[in-house]
Structure formats: structure tokens, C-alpha cells
Amino acid sequence: MSRSGTVGIIANPAAGKDIRRLVSAASPTSDMAKIGVVRRALIGAVEGGAERVLLADDLKSLGRQAVDGLEQNIDAHVEIVAGDVVPASVHTRRMATQFREMGVDALVVLGGDGTHRDVVKGWRDAPLVPVSTGTNNVFPRMTEATVAGHAAGVVAAGRVELVDVAYRAQVLDVRGDEIDDDLALVDLALINGMFTASRAVWDLSAVRELIVTCAEPASIGLSSVVAQVHPVMRHEPGGVHVKLGPGRSVRAPIAPGLYADVEIGSVRLLTTSSEVLLSGPGVLGFDGERDVVLNEAQQVHVTLASDGPWVIDPPAAMQAAARA
């Protein structure tokens, strides 16, 4: 097979180890498991037709270990791209930007919703195959990494057209005084409290408001709450803003094996460019993780945007390649 194009692989070494191992029935994901996932994505990308594969040298060198442990020859140029030693989220964001600048045609991202959020913060319209290695993820799905890598390979090699095998994800842009511009891919929550602490959100009684880009009934996490009153599939335009409080009672799976009863006070449908104002005090939860603390009277503007990443569908990409 003639090869062309470049696939980039970014893996989050921290995924699959947070407090949801204690507060829900979530399974752990070891680094050894992740190294295997990266290795399979690499092999798949080359088999899909990529001539060059870049692996982000994450803080634990999962990429390097994946390559070191290869027991087969790889018929492609494989490069480990080093980054600065910075917090994992910043590292992921910078790596995504660097990969765009290095001419990557398609990304394979291995991690949870939070990892994908960091990638999109660094490369907003990235063409990517999202692979879940985390816990209750909505944006990335449970996909075999070999297939995910292969799908990225066929896109990078130009064997299929991106627009035929991908959809454009929506994004919630978050802007406000005293905070850096930020975004959420699936859901943004305003939560009572003043600490990000162990980050995961599992106590729904503390959640005041939820804004989502999609709300699929088959998803697990905060967006599943909204899905009970107004389902929005990931391909559909528009979002939803709900305020929790006395009103309609729903029961939703907010983490693996963990259901919660919630009351929804109000529901507002959002269209592209719709804006929502959230006011502190409280903590902003981005894609299920508490990340930004709002002080008293501090406000943020949240805007629904339609110019997010191109999300490649592995079955669609491989089917198109097989039929081409």
C-alpha cells in the first residue's frame, strides 16, 4: 500500500484513576493497559495508510513505552514528540497545538471527556478519533484502539474524505473576567462549593445548573440528567440549559453503576450562538470535572458554538475505505 499523511496520537496518563473508583462502580485503568491501547492505535494507524505517526511524549512516556515494547516492524516513520514538563492538562493542550503545526492530518485521542476538552483547547477544529480510556465518557466512545488508529490512518492517507466520515461537534465557549477563555465539549455545570478538590462530580444535590451540547439517553454522566427531559443526539444542532430545583423528578446514571434522583426546575433550549450567564459563587464543572472556582458575584458567559472538532466515526471511515 502506498502511504501518505500523518496521524498524531495523544494519550492521557491520568485517566481512569479518580475518586469514581470509590463513589461508583467505575473500573480502574492501569498505565499498562493504556500503553497497550497506544500501541494498538499506532499499529492500526499504519495499517490504515499513514506514512508518519507522531506520538505525544506524555508525562509518563506512555507513547515511548508503547514503541519500545513493539514486537513487530512498523512500516512508517514513527516519532516521539517531546513537550515541556507542565501539568497534564496544559501538556495535552500544547501537544495538540504542536501536532497541528507539525502537519498532522488526523488525531487519535485516548482519554476521557477531560482529555478531549484539553485537545480541543489546543486545536479547536482538530479531525480526531476519540477513544475512551476513562470512566463515564460521552465525547469519546468505547472503541477498540486498533480500529480507531486504522480509521485515523485512512483519513490521514486521504483514502476517504473527512466530511464523509465525520461530524462537526459543538462546543460551549466559556468567557469571563478573571478566568482564561475556556470550553466544554459535552456539559458545563455550576456547582455549590468553593473547591475543585477531587474534581469528579457525583453529588447531584450540589449542582445548580447544567448546560449541554448533547444529551443522549444512552450516555452516562451529567448530560444523562438532561437526556431524561430533552434528548439531543450528538449529531444534532442545539443544546439545552437546565436549572435544577423543585419541578420534574428524573433518575439518571451519573457514573458507572451510580444512579441519582434529580429534580429539574426549568429547561431552556439553546441554538447556535445562544448565550447563558452563570454567576458565582460556585465551581464550574467542565465535562464532569470541577475545574474553575467562581467567587461571589463573579460571572461567566457561556456560548453554544458549532465550530468544534471534526469527530471521525471509525465504522464509517473503515466502511468507506473498504468500498472505495
Binding site: P13, K17, I19, L22, P28, D31, G193, A197, D203, N295
Partner: protein
């Protein structure tokens, strides 16, 4: 989970008591006013404070060679501690235990331990006793990353999981075993990856965030108390001072930049900043708390200095006992 202002103030006080006690102990050690070795806990305060704030007085804790912080966080008497570190007769162990064997069975602190990994079987023994007696007391064991490479730790963790004992394993991963970086002694980065091998849930938390540690510990302790068995918490943390003592040894085993990066995330500074921003305490209130704790530390130092050494004729007293365990 909701974190009340009282909990925040409690975490702050526990951390500050450790920090100021340890800083004072370090000065005494440097001035040769303290015999033996001391392994300072400075930098890791959020772990001991976050965990101990979730415990009842009857819950037991097992400790390490870096154990002062654990005893302080469990409510240890600073004067008796300082006297013990100085080898004085008024200390917790009448001056014969010193830094690495300090304990307070009244507070159910089962003792610091000079042997790496040796705290685990002791705490698991306590957990076994709790289950055997049918009470709902929980035993927590603190240990470092290096301890998980030791056989005794493995046996203890395996037994706790197999017998579903009310235990919580708290790994303080400070990235170094004495002067050896973690990556030279284990092929994994996250010690928590080992938890699954024992069949217990494991969680990784930021050990420089007392509230994060508190949240994880509260869940793990609740599980243990309810009879659901042990949990494993890996807290990523860092020691500011040397493996032992204060000054850098004659060789460089870590960079100044690395140390500085961890200090930027200091747990006490971070909590104080949040408490002020959230209107929990004003700067002057926090300063008053600090002054009060500093006064009790000064008092402890004076108490230690003024106390006598053990008399020669007590040399064998408290060393051997005919009685059984409590």
C-alpha cells in the same frame, strides 16, 4: 460532598500544626539539640491532615519513619512529641523511642516505624482485631511509594483484601525512596495501579490538596466502616526537606526547579488563599491561628529543652514487658 467551613478550618489547623512543629524540630536538629535522625513531613501536610480529619478518635493509624505529621494530625500533644524527639523523660515514650518510634496508643496512633513497609501489617492487624471484635473502627496505614516494593506491604494488602478488613491504605507518593527516584525502583508511575492486583478499589488524588484528600478518605473510611473492605488511596505529594534532616546532602539527587515547582502548589498556601477568597477566614484570622499554633510549638520546644533526660536506672524500664497487647 459538602465541605463545611468547620472542616476547612480543621484542615488548616491540622496542617499548620504539622508545618510549624516540623520547622521547629528541624531547627533543633540542625543545632544539634536533637539526637538521632528526624525525617521531616513538611510538604506532605495535606495527606495526614486530609485523612485524619475523616477519622474518629477510636480509629487507628499506622505510620512510617516520616511519622511526626501523622501523630500531629491525629491530635498528638506537641510538648510530649518534642520532648520525645529530644530524648527526654517527659516524652511520649519516656525519651526512649525518639522520632521513629513515637506513638500514642490513647489516640490510637500505633507508632512511627523505622522499617519501611512495616506499618502495613501492624495496621492490618488492628483492622483484623476490629473485625474480630465486631466494632466499626477503621485502621488506616500511611506508607510511601517505596514501601509498596516491600514484601510485608504485599502480604498486608493481600490479607486485608482477602479478609475484607476495615482498612484504608494511604500511599504518600513523594517520588523518592530516600534519595532514589521512584522510576528507578518500579516500572509503573502510579502506585495505585497495584490496587487492582489485590482486589481493592484504588483512587489517585492530588496530595497537595487537603480537600481532595479529605473527599477521597471520607469515601474510603465510610466503605471500610460499612464492612465493604479496604481501599487504596495514592496521594501525589512531595517532601520539601531532605530524606532525613534539613540540609541537602553532599550530592544532588533532585533539582531546585523541581522543588520550587512543588512549593508553588503548597497545600497550606492554597487552602489559605481559598479560605480568604471564599470568605471563610480573613487574613488576620488566619494569622491569629498561626500565631496561636506557633506559641504552642514554642511552648513545646521550651518544654523539651527544660525536661530531664531519663535516669540511668530506668534504662531497662519500658523496654521489656510481660503484659499482652492492649
Amino acid at each position: 460532598m459538602e465541605i463545611s467551613n468547620e472542616v476547612l478550618k480543621d484542615l488548616h489547623v491540622r496542617m499548620l500544626r504539622i508545618r510549624l512543629f516540623e520547622e521547629a524540630a528541624g531547627k533543633l536538629f540542625e543545632n544539634s539539640e536533637m539526637p538521632g535522625f528526624i525525617h521531616l513531613y513538611v510538604g506532605q501536610e495535606a495527606v495526614a491532615a486530609g485523612v485524619c480529619a475523616t477519622l474518629r478518635e477510636d480509629d487507628q493509624i499506622g505510620s512510617t519513619h516520616r511519622g511526626h505529621g501523622h501523630l500531629v494530625a491525629k491530635g498528638g500533644d506537641l510538648s510530649k512529641m518534642m520532648a520525645e524527639l529530644m530524648g527526654k523523660a517527659t516524652g511520649y515514650c519516656n525519651g526512649k523511642g525518639g522520632s521513629m518510634h513515637i506513638c500514642d496508643l490513647e489516640l490510637n496512633m500505633l507508632g512511627a516505624n523505622g522499617i519501611v513497609g512495616a506499618g502495613a501489617p501492624i495496621a492490618v492487624g488492628a483492622a483484623f482485631a476490629n473485625k474480630y471484635r465486631g466494632n466499626d473502627t477503621v485502621a488506616v496505614v500511611f506508607f510511601g511509594d517505596g514501601a509498596t516494593n516491600i514484601g510485608a506491604f504485599h502480604e498486608a494488602a493481600n490479607m486485608a483484601a482477602a479478609l475484607k478488613l476495615p482498612a484504608v491504605f494511604v500511599c504518600e507518593n513523594n517520588e523518592y525512596g530516600e534519595y532514589t527516584p521512584r522510576h528507578k525502583t518500579m516500572a509503573i508511575d502510579d502506585v495505585v495501579d497495584r490496587a487492582a492486583g489485590y482486589g481493592m478499589p484504588g483512587v489517585m488524588v492530588d496530595g497537595m490538596d487537603a480537600v481532595a484528600v479529605y473527599e477521597a478518605s471520607a469515601q474510603a473510611v465510610q466503605r471500610a466502616r460499612a464492612g465493604h473492605g479496604p481501599s487504596f488511596i495514592e496521594a501525589k505529594t512531595y517532601r520539601y526537606y531532605n530524606h532525613h534532616g534539613v540540609q541537602i546532602m553532599g550530592f544532588k539527587y533532585r533539582t531546585d526547579e523541581e522543588l520550587e515547582q512543588w512549593k508553588q502548589r503548597d497545600a497550606i498556601d492554597a487552602l489559605e488563599a481559598r479560605m480568604q477568597a471564599g470568605g471563610v477566614s480573613s487574613r488576620s484570622e488566619l494569622d491569629a491561628v498561626r500565631a496561636e499554633i506557633q506559641a504552642s510549638v514554642d511552648e513545646a520546644v521550651a518544654f523539651g529543652k527544660d525536661s530531664p533526660y531519663p535516669e540511668l536506672d530506668t534504662m531497662l524500664t519500658d523496654v521489656y514487658t510481660l503484659g499482652g497487647a492492649r
